[in-house]
Protein backbone atom coordinates (compact mmCIF):
# COMPACT_ATOMS: atom_id res chain seq x y z
CA UNK A 1 0.00 0.00 0.00
CA UNK A 2 1.20 3.41 -0.84
CA UNK A 3 0.11 6.13 1.52
CA UNK A 4 -2.27 8.68 0.17
CA UNK A 5 -0.60 11.91 -0.72
CA UNK A 6 -2.13 15.07 0.59
CA UNK A 7 -1.53 17.86 -1.80
CA UNK A 8 -2.16 21.49 -1.05
CA UNK A 9 -2.77 23.63 -4.07
CA UNK A 10 -2.90 27.36 -3.55
CA UNK A 11 -3.69 29.85 -6.19
CA UNK A 12 -2.00 33.19 -5.92
CA UNK A 13 -4.14 35.96 -4.57
CA UNK A 14 -6.34 37.37 -7.26
CA UNK A 15 -7.44 40.21 -5.08
CA UNK A 16 -4.81 41.28 -2.58
CA UNK A 17 -5.16 39.47 0.70
CA UNK A 18 -7.27 36.64 -0.61
CA UNK A 19 -5.78 33.35 -1.62
CA UNK A 20 -7.61 30.20 -2.47
CA UNK A 21 -6.34 26.85 -1.30
CA UNK A 22 -7.60 23.41 -2.21
CA UNK A 23 -6.72 20.31 -0.25
CA UNK A 24 -6.61 17.32 -2.51
CA UNK A 25 -6.11 13.79 -1.28
CA UNK A 26 -4.56 11.89 -4.12
CA UNK A 27 -3.95 8.17 -4.14
CA UNK A 28 -0.30 7.67 -4.95
CA UNK A 29 0.36 5.72 -8.08
CA UNK A 30 2.27 2.56 -7.33
CA UNK A 31 5.16 2.14 -9.71
CA UNK A 32 6.44 -1.35 -10.09
CA UNK A 33 9.86 -1.21 -8.51
CA UNK A 34 11.14 -4.04 -10.65
CA UNK A 35 13.22 -7.04 -9.78
CA UNK A 36 16.64 -5.86 -8.52
CA UNK A 37 19.58 -6.38 -10.83
CA UNK A 38 21.66 -9.46 -10.16
CA UNK A 39 18.58 -11.59 -9.44
CA UNK A 40 18.92 -14.96 -11.13
CA UNK A 41 15.79 -16.13 -12.94
CA UNK A 42 15.77 -19.85 -13.57
CA UNK A 43 13.37 -22.14 -15.36
CA UNK A 44 13.14 -25.89 -15.49
CA UNK A 45 10.39 -28.20 -16.73
CA UNK A 46 9.57 -31.62 -15.35
CA UNK A 47 8.00 -34.28 -17.53
CA UNK A 48 6.29 -37.49 -16.45
CA UNK A 49 5.50 -40.31 -18.84
CA UNK A 50 5.08 -44.03 -19.15
CA UNK A 51 6.06 -46.63 -21.67
CA UNK A 52 3.39 -49.21 -22.39
CA UNK A 53 1.96 -50.47 -19.11
CA UNK A 54 5.15 -49.52 -17.27
CA UNK A 55 5.46 -47.26 -14.27
CA UNK A 56 5.37 -43.49 -14.40
CA UNK A 57 8.81 -42.04 -15.01
CA UNK A 58 10.09 -38.56 -14.52
CA UNK A 59 12.45 -36.55 -16.70
CA UNK A 60 13.69 -33.09 -15.84
CA UNK A 61 14.94 -30.52 -18.27
CA UNK A 62 18.12 -28.57 -18.00
CA UNK A 63 17.74 -25.41 -15.91
CA UNK A 64 17.90 -22.32 -18.08
CA UNK A 65 18.83 -19.21 -16.16
CA UNK A 66 19.86 -15.61 -16.66
CA UNK A 67 20.69 -12.60 -14.52
CA UNK A 68 18.42 -9.56 -14.31
CA UNK A 69 20.30 -6.52 -15.60
CA UNK A 70 20.32 -2.98 -14.24
CA UNK A 71 17.47 -0.96 -15.73
CA UNK A 72 18.18 2.75 -15.69
CA UNK A 73 15.00 4.78 -16.02
CA UNK A 74 13.69 7.99 -14.55
CA UNK A 75 10.99 10.59 -14.95
CA UNK A 76 11.01 14.29 -14.18
CA UNK A 77 7.76 16.25 -13.88
CA UNK A 78 6.86 19.76 -12.87
CA UNK A 79 4.71 19.29 -9.81
CA UNK A 80 2.03 21.99 -9.96
CA UNK A 81 1.31 21.86 -13.68
CA UNK A 82 1.14 25.65 -13.74
CA UNK A 83 3.67 28.47 -13.75
CA UNK A 84 4.98 29.77 -10.45
CA UNK A 85 3.42 33.18 -9.85
CA UNK A 86 6.12 35.75 -9.14
CA UNK A 87 6.39 39.46 -8.59
CA UNK A 88 8.60 41.81 -10.60
CA UNK A 89 12.08 41.83 -9.05
CA UNK A 90 11.31 38.89 -6.79
CA UNK A 91 14.35 36.94 -5.59
CA UNK A 92 14.52 33.26 -4.72
CA UNK A 93 11.42 32.27 -6.64
CA UNK A 94 10.88 28.51 -6.57
CA UNK A 95 9.57 26.04 -9.13
CA UNK A 96 9.08 22.49 -7.89
CA UNK A 97 9.81 19.29 -9.79
CA UNK A 98 9.65 15.63 -8.94
CA UNK A 99 12.34 13.11 -9.90
CA UNK A 100 11.24 9.48 -9.88
CA UNK A 101 13.59 6.50 -10.07
CA UNK A 102 11.85 4.09 -12.44
CA UNK A 103 14.80 1.70 -12.55
CA UNK A 104 15.24 -1.49 -10.57
CA UNK A 105 18.19 -0.39 -8.44
CA UNK A 106 19.00 2.58 -6.19
CA UNK A 107 20.40 5.38 -8.30
CA UNK A 108 22.04 8.76 -7.81
CA UNK A 109 20.78 11.73 -9.81
CA UNK A 110 22.75 14.74 -11.00
CA UNK A 111 20.58 17.83 -11.45
CA UNK A 112 20.85 20.76 -13.85
CA UNK A 113 18.65 23.83 -14.27
CA UNK A 114 18.58 25.82 -17.49
CA UNK A 115 16.66 28.56 -19.23
CA UNK A 116 14.47 27.30 -22.04
CA UNK A 117 15.59 28.24 -25.50
CA UNK A 118 13.40 30.19 -27.87
CA UNK A 119 9.92 31.57 -27.68
CA UNK A 120 7.83 29.53 -27.67
CA UNK A 121 10.12 27.31 -25.64
CA UNK A 122 11.02 24.56 -28.06
CA UNK A 123 9.08 21.46 -27.27
CA UNK A 124 7.33 23.15 -24.40
CA UNK A 125 4.07 21.78 -23.21
CA UNK A 126 1.27 24.12 -22.11
CA UNK A 127 1.37 26.15 -19.99
CA UNK A 128 5.19 26.15 -20.27
CA UNK A 129 5.47 27.40 -23.84
CA UNK A 130 5.51 31.19 -23.80
CA UNK A 131 9.01 32.38 -22.94
CA UNK A 132 9.05 36.18 -22.75
CA UNK A 133 11.95 36.93 -20.44
CA UNK A 134 14.84 35.19 -18.73
CA UNK A 135 14.88 34.48 -15.03
CA UNK A 136 18.37 34.96 -13.59
CA UNK A 137 20.68 33.26 -11.11
CA UNK A 138 19.23 29.80 -11.58
CA UNK A 139 20.12 27.34 -8.83
CA UNK A 140 18.92 23.80 -8.27
CA UNK A 141 18.43 22.07 -4.94
CA UNK A 142 17.16 18.67 -3.86
CA UNK A 143 14.53 18.45 -1.15
CA UNK A 144 17.07 17.03 1.28
CA UNK A 145 14.75 17.01 4.27
CA UNK A 146 11.93 15.50 2.25
CA UNK A 147 9.21 17.90 3.35
CA UNK A 148 8.20 18.78 -0.20
CA UNK A 149 8.90 22.51 0.08
CA UNK A 150 12.08 24.47 -0.47
CA UNK A 151 13.80 25.47 2.76
CA UNK A 152 16.53 28.01 2.02
CA UNK A 153 19.74 27.10 3.83
CA UNK A 154 18.42 23.63 4.64
CA UNK A 155 17.87 22.12 1.22
CA UNK A 156 21.41 22.82 0.09
CA UNK A 157 22.26 19.59 -1.78
CA UNK A 158 22.57 20.19 -5.49
CA UNK A 159 22.11 16.54 -6.41
CA UNK A 160 20.35 13.42 -5.15
CA UNK A 161 23.08 11.11 -3.77
CA UNK A 162 20.85 8.05 -3.81
CA UNK A 163 17.22 7.32 -4.49
CA UNK A 164 15.70 3.86 -4.01
CA UNK A 165 14.00 2.09 -6.90
CA UNK A 166 10.44 3.37 -7.15
CA UNK A 167 11.14 6.34 -4.88
CA UNK A 168 10.76 10.00 -5.80
CA UNK A 169 12.21 13.23 -4.50
CA UNK A 170 11.26 16.85 -5.00
CA UNK A 171 13.77 19.15 -6.66
CA UNK A 172 13.60 22.95 -6.70
CA UNK A 173 14.81 25.48 -9.22
CA UNK A 174 15.41 28.76 -7.39
CA UNK A 175 15.73 31.90 -9.52
CA UNK A 176 15.46 35.67 -9.47
CA UNK A 177 13.01 37.73 -11.51
CA UNK A 178 14.57 40.81 -13.11
CA UNK A 179 13.03 44.22 -12.50
CA UNK A 180 12.60 44.61 -16.24
CA UNK A 181 10.04 41.79 -16.42
CA UNK A 182 6.47 42.92 -17.01
CA UNK A 183 3.20 41.62 -15.70
CA UNK A 184 2.00 38.61 -17.66
CA UNK A 185 5.44 37.70 -18.90
CA UNK A 186 6.73 34.19 -18.44
CA UNK A 187 10.18 32.64 -18.18
CA UNK A 188 10.39 28.94 -18.96
CA UNK A 189 13.08 26.90 -17.19
CA UNK A 190 14.01 23.26 -17.47
CA UNK A 191 15.24 20.69 -15.00
CA UNK A 192 17.34 17.81 -16.30
CA UNK A 193 18.10 14.87 -14.03
CA UNK A 194 20.81 12.39 -15.03
CA UNK A 195 21.06 8.95 -13.47
CA UNK A 196 24.54 8.40 -12.01
CA UNK A 197 26.27 5.92 -9.72
CA UNK A 198 24.88 6.45 -6.19
CA UNK A 199 27.04 8.43 -3.74
CA UNK A 200 30.14 8.65 -5.98
CA UNK A 201 28.02 10.39 -8.65
CA UNK A 202 30.21 8.83 -11.33
CA UNK A 203 28.64 8.75 -14.78
CA UNK A 204 26.76 5.65 -15.85
CA UNK A 205 27.36 4.05 -19.20
CA UNK A 206 25.50 1.30 -20.92
CA UNK A 207 27.22 -2.04 -21.13
CA UNK A 208 28.13 -2.15 -24.81
CA UNK A 209 27.70 -5.03 -27.18
CA UNK A 210 26.48 -8.47 -26.34
CA UNK A 211 25.28 -9.72 -23.03
CA UNK A 212 27.81 -10.29 -20.31
CA UNK A 213 27.39 -13.00 -17.67
CA UNK A 214 27.11 -10.37 -14.96
CA UNK A 215 24.82 -7.39 -14.50
CA UNK A 216 24.65 -5.19 -17.59
CA UNK A 217 23.60 -1.56 -17.47
CA UNK A 218 20.61 -0.93 -19.76
CA UNK A 219 19.17 2.56 -20.35
CA UNK A 220 15.38 2.47 -20.64
CA UNK A 221 14.37 6.12 -20.22
CA UNK A 222 12.11 8.07 -22.55
CA UNK A 223 12.77 11.45 -24.15
CA UNK A 224 12.19 14.53 -22.01
CA UNK A 225 11.68 18.08 -23.28
CA UNK A 226 15.36 18.66 -24.00
CA UNK A 227 16.91 15.17 -23.91
CA UNK A 228 16.73 12.06 -26.05
CA UNK A 229 15.42 8.63 -25.16
CA UNK A 230 17.83 6.04 -23.75
CA UNK A 231 20.37 8.58 -22.48
CA UNK A 232 19.87 8.10 -18.71
CA UNK A 233 18.45 11.63 -18.60
CA UNK A 234 15.02 13.14 -18.33
CA UNK A 235 14.01 16.78 -18.50
CA UNK A 236 10.85 18.79 -17.91
CA UNK A 237 9.81 22.41 -18.18
CA UNK A 238 8.52 24.68 -15.46
CA UNK A 239 7.94 28.43 -15.58
CA UNK A 240 7.80 31.71 -13.71
CA UNK A 241 4.85 33.92 -14.55
CA UNK A 242 4.97 37.56 -13.48
CA UNK A 243 1.70 38.22 -11.73
CA UNK A 244 -0.45 41.24 -12.18
CA UNK A 245 -2.65 42.00 -15.07
CA UNK A 246 -1.83 43.95 -18.19
CA UNK A 247 -4.66 45.95 -19.67
CA UNK A 248 -4.03 46.84 -23.28
CA UNK A 249 -6.30 49.28 -25.05
CA UNK A 250 -6.02 49.53 -28.80
CA UNK A 251 -8.04 52.19 -30.58
CA UNK A 252 -8.63 51.94 -34.30
CA UNK A 253 -10.99 53.38 -36.86
CA UNK A 254 -13.23 50.53 -37.89
CA UNK A 255 -14.97 52.33 -40.75
CA UNK A 256 -15.70 55.67 -42.34
CA UNK A 257 -18.91 56.30 -44.21
CA UNK A 258 -19.28 59.66 -45.93
CA UNK A 259 -22.65 61.14 -47.04
CA UNK A 260 -22.05 59.70 -50.52
CA UNK A 261 -21.76 56.20 -49.15
CA UNK A 262 -18.05 55.98 -49.78
CA UNK A 263 -15.18 56.12 -47.29
CA UNK A 264 -13.88 59.64 -47.78
CA UNK A 265 -12.88 61.63 -44.68
CA UNK A 266 -15.02 64.72 -45.11
CA UNK A 267 -17.50 66.73 -43.09
CA UNK A 268 -20.59 64.72 -42.13
CA UNK A 269 -18.71 61.47 -42.65
CA UNK A 270 -19.46 58.98 -39.84
CA UNK A 271 -16.44 57.37 -38.22
CA UNK A 272 -16.78 54.16 -36.26
CA UNK A 273 -14.12 53.99 -33.57
CA UNK A 274 -13.15 50.62 -32.13
CA UNK A 275 -11.41 50.10 -28.78
CA UNK A 276 -10.08 46.62 -28.16
CA UNK A 277 -9.78 45.90 -24.45
CA UNK A 278 -7.31 43.10 -23.86
CA UNK A 279 -6.40 41.72 -20.44
CA UNK A 280 -3.32 39.55 -20.33
CA UNK A 281 -1.13 38.21 -17.55
CA UNK A 282 -2.69 36.84 -14.44
CA UNK A 283 -5.01 38.36 -11.94
CA UNK A 284 -7.96 40.70 -11.90
CA UNK A 285 -8.26 44.29 -12.90
CA UNK A 286 -10.67 45.69 -10.36
CA UNK A 287 -13.17 48.39 -11.29
CA UNK A 288 -12.03 48.44 -14.88
CA UNK A 289 -13.46 51.57 -16.52
CA UNK A 290 -12.64 52.58 -20.08
CA UNK A 291 -12.88 56.29 -20.81
CA UNK A 292 -12.33 57.63 -24.31
CA UNK A 293 -12.59 61.39 -24.91
CA UNK A 294 -14.22 62.26 -28.18
CA UNK A 295 -11.66 63.29 -30.80
CA UNK A 296 -11.48 66.97 -31.67
CA UNK A 297 -13.71 68.21 -34.48
CA UNK A 298 -16.14 65.36 -34.15
CA UNK A 299 -19.63 65.09 -32.79
CA UNK A 300 -20.83 62.01 -30.96
CA UNK A 301 -23.60 60.08 -32.72
CA UNK A 302 -26.32 59.48 -30.14
CA UNK A 303 -26.82 55.96 -28.79
CA UNK A 304 -23.96 54.58 -30.88
CA UNK A 305 -22.04 52.82 -28.13
CA UNK A 306 -21.88 49.08 -28.64
CA UNK A 307 -19.97 46.40 -26.75
CA UNK A 308 -18.91 42.93 -27.84
CA UNK A 309 -17.85 40.67 -24.98
CA UNK A 310 -15.50 37.98 -26.26
CA UNK A 311 -13.92 36.32 -23.27
CA UNK A 312 -13.04 36.71 -19.63
CA UNK A 313 -14.53 36.40 -16.20
CA UNK A 314 -16.34 39.39 -14.83
CA UNK A 315 -17.61 40.33 -11.40
CA UNK A 316 -18.96 43.34 -9.57
CA UNK A 317 -21.27 44.53 -12.36
CA UNK A 318 -20.22 45.76 -15.76
CA UNK A 319 -21.06 45.91 -19.42
CA UNK A 320 -20.11 42.25 -19.89
CA UNK A 321 -22.27 41.13 -16.96
CA UNK A 322 -21.17 38.79 -14.19
CA UNK A 323 -19.61 35.37 -14.75
CA UNK A 324 -17.38 33.71 -17.29
CA UNK A 325 -17.86 34.32 -20.98
CA UNK A 326 -17.24 30.96 -22.59
CA UNK A 327 -18.04 31.95 -26.18
CA UNK A 328 -17.87 35.32 -27.96
CA UNK A 329 -21.11 37.23 -27.54
CA UNK A 330 -22.89 39.30 -30.21
CA UNK A 331 -22.55 43.11 -30.06
CA UNK A 332 -24.95 44.83 -27.63
CA UNK A 333 -26.04 48.45 -28.16
CA UNK A 334 -25.90 50.77 -25.16
CA UNK A 335 -27.75 53.90 -24.27
CA UNK A 336 -26.07 57.21 -23.52
CA UNK A 337 -27.46 57.84 -20.03
CA UNK A 338 -25.58 56.91 -16.90
CA UNK A 339 -28.87 56.07 -15.22
CA UNK A 340 -30.01 53.38 -17.66
CA UNK A 341 -28.03 50.64 -15.89
CA UNK A 342 -26.15 49.42 -18.95
CA UNK A 343 -22.68 50.44 -17.66
CA UNK A 344 -22.06 52.73 -20.63
CA UNK A 345 -22.65 56.43 -21.13
CA UNK A 346 -21.59 59.48 -23.06
CA UNK A 347 -20.88 62.86 -21.46
CA UNK A 348 -22.13 61.84 -18.00
CA UNK A 349 -19.38 60.04 -16.12
CA UNK A 350 -16.80 62.03 -17.97
CA UNK A 351 -17.42 65.20 -20.00
CA UNK A 352 -17.48 64.74 -23.78
CA UNK A 353 -16.19 61.19 -23.44
CA UNK A 354 -17.46 57.66 -23.88
CA UNK A 355 -17.27 55.70 -20.61
CA UNK A 356 -17.75 51.95 -20.32
CA UNK A 357 -17.54 50.09 -17.01
CA UNK A 358 -16.40 46.45 -17.15
CA UNK A 359 -16.29 45.81 -13.40
CA UNK A 360 -13.75 43.38 -11.98
CA UNK A 361 -12.33 41.63 -15.03
CA UNK A 362 -10.10 38.60 -14.64
CA UNK A 363 -7.43 37.92 -17.22
CA UNK A 364 -7.39 36.62 -19.86
CA UNK A 365 -10.30 38.73 -21.06
CA UNK A 366 -11.18 40.48 -24.27
CA UNK A 367 -13.94 42.86 -25.25
CA UNK A 368 -14.52 45.36 -28.01
CA UNK A 369 -16.16 48.77 -27.59
CA UNK A 370 -17.35 50.71 -30.62
CA UNK A 371 -18.99 54.11 -30.96
CA UNK A 372 -19.64 56.53 -33.78
CA UNK A 373 -18.85 60.19 -34.32
CA UNK A 374 -19.50 62.59 -37.18
CA UNK A 375 -16.79 64.81 -38.60
CA UNK A 376 -17.70 68.45 -38.09
Amino acid sequence: MHPAEIKKICSRAINPGISVCLLLILPQIGWAAGTPSGTSISNSATLTYSVGAGPTNTATSNAVSFIVDKKVNLLVTEVSGSPTSVGIGQTGAVTTFSVINLGNDPQGFALAAALAAGNPASGGTPPFTTNDFSATGLQVFADSNGNGVYDAGVDTATSIPTLAADASQKVFIVADIPGTAAAGQQSVVSLTATAVVPITMAPLSQTPGVDTPGVDVVFADGAGVTDAALDAKYSAYGAYLVNGVNVTLTKTVASIVDPNGTAVVMPKAVITYQIDVDLSGSGTADNLVITDPLPANTTYLANSISITCISGTYAGGGACGVGTISAPQPPVSKGDLDTDGDYADFNFTSANAVTVTLGNATSPAKSIITFKATIN
Binding site: A45, T48, V51, S61
Partner: protein, 165 residues
Protein backbone atom coordinates in the same frame (compact mmCIF):
# COMPACT_ATOMS: atom_id res chain seq x y z
CA UNK B 1 25.87 -61.06 11.44
CA UNK B 2 25.90 -63.27 8.37
CA UNK B 3 22.21 -62.93 7.77
CA UNK B 4 22.14 -59.29 8.34
CA UNK B 5 25.09 -58.76 5.97
CA UNK B 6 23.32 -60.78 3.30
CA UNK B 7 20.14 -58.79 3.83
CA UNK B 8 22.09 -55.60 3.57
CA UNK B 9 23.70 -56.65 0.32
CA UNK B 10 20.38 -57.80 -1.11
CA UNK B 11 18.75 -54.57 -0.09
CA UNK B 12 21.58 -52.56 -1.59
CA UNK B 13 21.43 -54.56 -4.79
CA UNK B 14 17.68 -54.18 -5.12
CA UNK B 15 17.97 -50.47 -4.40
CA UNK B 16 20.68 -50.08 -6.97
CA UNK B 17 18.74 -52.09 -9.49
CA UNK B 18 15.57 -50.15 -8.96
CA UNK B 19 17.39 -46.85 -8.97
CA UNK B 20 19.39 -47.59 -12.08
CA UNK B 21 16.28 -48.76 -13.90
CA UNK B 22 14.57 -45.48 -13.12
CA UNK B 23 17.58 -43.49 -14.16
CA UNK B 24 17.75 -45.40 -17.38
CA UNK B 25 14.09 -44.87 -18.17
CA UNK B 26 14.22 -41.19 -17.22
CA UNK B 27 17.48 -40.53 -18.92
CA UNK B 28 16.96 -42.43 -22.08
CA UNK B 29 13.32 -42.65 -23.11
CA UNK B 30 12.63 -38.92 -23.28
CA UNK B 31 14.97 -36.01 -23.60
CA UNK B 32 13.66 -32.74 -22.19
CA UNK B 33 15.29 -29.45 -23.15
CA UNK B 34 14.34 -26.01 -21.91
CA UNK B 35 15.39 -22.72 -23.51
CA UNK B 36 14.71 -19.05 -22.74
CA UNK B 37 14.55 -16.52 -25.56
CA UNK B 38 13.47 -12.98 -26.33
CA UNK B 39 11.74 -11.84 -29.47
CA UNK B 40 12.92 -8.76 -31.34
CA UNK B 41 11.57 -7.13 -34.44
CA UNK B 42 14.06 -7.07 -37.27
CA UNK B 43 13.67 -5.17 -40.50
CA UNK B 44 15.13 -7.19 -43.34
CA UNK B 45 16.84 -6.00 -46.50
CA UNK B 46 13.48 -6.11 -48.26
CA UNK B 47 12.10 -3.73 -45.64
CA UNK B 48 9.79 -6.36 -44.22
CA UNK B 49 9.52 -6.72 -40.49
CA UNK B 50 10.03 -10.09 -38.94
CA UNK B 51 10.30 -11.38 -35.40
CA UNK B 52 13.56 -13.01 -34.49
CA UNK B 53 14.13 -15.05 -31.35
CA UNK B 54 17.48 -14.82 -29.66
CA UNK B 55 18.78 -16.08 -26.32
CA UNK B 56 17.98 -13.79 -23.39
CA UNK B 57 20.65 -11.11 -23.25
CA UNK B 58 19.77 -7.76 -21.78
CA UNK B 59 17.14 -8.74 -19.25
CA UNK B 60 15.50 -5.87 -17.39
CA UNK B 61 12.17 -5.61 -15.60
CA UNK B 62 9.46 -5.64 -18.24
CA UNK B 63 11.38 -7.85 -20.65
CA UNK B 64 9.16 -10.61 -22.04
CA UNK B 65 10.90 -13.98 -22.08
CA UNK B 66 9.72 -16.96 -24.14
CA UNK B 67 10.34 -20.29 -22.43
CA UNK B 68 10.21 -23.33 -24.70
CA UNK B 69 10.46 -26.95 -23.61
CA UNK B 70 11.16 -29.61 -26.21
CA UNK B 71 10.65 -33.31 -25.47
CA UNK B 72 11.87 -36.10 -27.73
CA UNK B 73 11.23 -39.82 -27.71
CA UNK B 74 14.61 -41.55 -27.72
CA UNK B 75 13.39 -45.16 -27.56
CA UNK B 76 11.84 -47.51 -30.11
CA UNK B 77 8.47 -47.66 -28.38
CA UNK B 78 5.78 -45.01 -28.21
CA UNK B 79 5.69 -43.03 -25.00
CA UNK B 80 2.40 -42.09 -23.36
CA UNK B 81 0.87 -40.31 -20.36
CA UNK B 82 3.15 -37.34 -21.00
CA UNK B 83 2.58 -34.50 -18.56
CA UNK B 84 4.87 -31.48 -18.47
CA UNK B 85 4.98 -29.30 -15.41
CA UNK B 86 6.64 -25.90 -15.34
CA UNK B 87 6.45 -23.41 -12.51
CA UNK B 88 6.27 -19.79 -13.66
CA UNK B 89 9.87 -18.69 -13.06
CA UNK B 90 10.75 -16.59 -10.05
CA UNK B 91 10.45 -12.80 -10.37
CA UNK B 92 8.30 -13.34 -13.47
CA UNK B 93 4.71 -12.77 -14.48
CA UNK B 94 2.92 -15.17 -16.81
CA UNK B 95 1.60 -13.44 -19.94
CA UNK B 96 -2.10 -14.10 -20.49
CA UNK B 97 -2.86 -16.49 -23.32
CA UNK B 98 0.77 -17.20 -24.10
CA UNK B 99 0.98 -20.89 -23.22
CA UNK B 100 1.18 -23.08 -26.29
CA UNK B 101 1.46 -26.80 -26.96
CA UNK B 102 0.10 -28.81 -29.87
CA UNK B 103 -2.16 -31.70 -28.85
CA UNK B 104 -2.02 -30.53 -25.25
CA UNK B 105 -4.59 -29.72 -22.64
CA UNK B 106 -3.11 -26.71 -20.84
CA UNK B 107 -3.88 -26.18 -17.17
CA UNK B 108 -2.76 -23.57 -14.68
CA UNK B 109 -2.34 -23.33 -10.95
CA UNK B 110 -2.65 -20.33 -8.67
CA UNK B 111 -1.65 -22.17 -5.50
CA UNK B 112 1.90 -23.22 -6.23
CA UNK B 113 0.92 -26.39 -8.09
CA UNK B 114 -1.39 -27.97 -5.52
CA UNK B 115 -4.41 -27.74 -7.79
CA UNK B 116 -4.76 -27.12 -11.50
CA UNK B 117 -7.57 -25.94 -13.72
CA UNK B 118 -8.31 -24.29 -17.02
CA UNK B 119 -7.74 -20.54 -17.10
CA UNK B 120 -11.45 -19.71 -16.78
CA UNK B 121 -11.92 -22.04 -13.80
CA UNK B 122 -9.30 -20.48 -11.56
CA UNK B 123 -10.26 -18.17 -8.75
CA UNK B 124 -8.47 -16.20 -6.07
CA UNK B 125 -10.09 -15.13 -2.83
CA UNK B 126 -10.35 -11.37 -2.55
CA UNK B 127 -9.81 -9.43 0.67
CA UNK B 128 -13.34 -10.25 1.80
CA UNK B 129 -12.82 -13.98 1.20
CA UNK B 130 -14.99 -14.05 -1.90
CA UNK B 131 -13.63 -15.87 -4.92
CA UNK B 132 -12.88 -13.80 -7.99
CA UNK B 133 -11.45 -14.88 -11.34
CA UNK B 134 -7.68 -15.28 -11.16
CA UNK B 135 -5.51 -12.98 -13.25
CA UNK B 136 -2.94 -14.43 -15.58
CA UNK B 137 -0.20 -12.72 -13.61
CA UNK B 138 -1.28 -14.69 -10.55
CA UNK B 139 -0.56 -18.07 -12.15
CA UNK B 140 2.15 -20.00 -10.34
CA UNK B 141 2.41 -23.16 -12.41
CA UNK B 142 1.60 -24.41 -15.87
CA UNK B 143 0.82 -27.99 -16.82
CA UNK B 144 0.55 -29.49 -20.29
CA UNK B 145 -1.21 -32.85 -20.66
CA UNK B 146 -0.08 -34.34 -23.96
CA UNK B 147 -3.12 -36.11 -25.34
CA UNK B 148 -1.34 -38.41 -27.73
CA UNK B 149 1.35 -41.05 -27.69
CA UNK B 150 4.74 -39.77 -28.72
CA UNK B 151 5.99 -42.03 -31.49
CA UNK B 152 9.63 -43.19 -31.58
CA UNK B 153 11.96 -40.44 -32.72
CA UNK B 154 9.25 -37.81 -32.62
CA UNK B 155 9.33 -34.71 -30.48
CA UNK B 156 6.89 -32.18 -29.12
CA UNK B 157 7.17 -28.59 -28.00
CA UNK B 158 5.39 -26.59 -25.33
CA UNK B 159 6.06 -23.17 -23.92
CA UNK B 160 4.85 -19.86 -22.57
CA UNK B 161 5.83 -16.24 -22.15
CA UNK B 162 6.55 -14.45 -18.91
CA UNK B 163 7.69 -10.90 -18.26
CA UNK B 164 10.37 -10.05 -15.74
CA UNK B 165 8.71 -8.29 -12.80
Amino acid sequence: MQISRLLLITTLLSMLGGFSATVQAAGDAIKVTSIAQVETEVIGKDGKKSLVRTPVEKAIPGTEVIYTTTFQNLIKKPVGDIVINNPVPNASEYKAGSAFGKDCDILFSVDGGKTFGHAEELTIKDEGGKPRPALAKEYTNIRWIYKKQLAPGKSGEVGFRAAIK
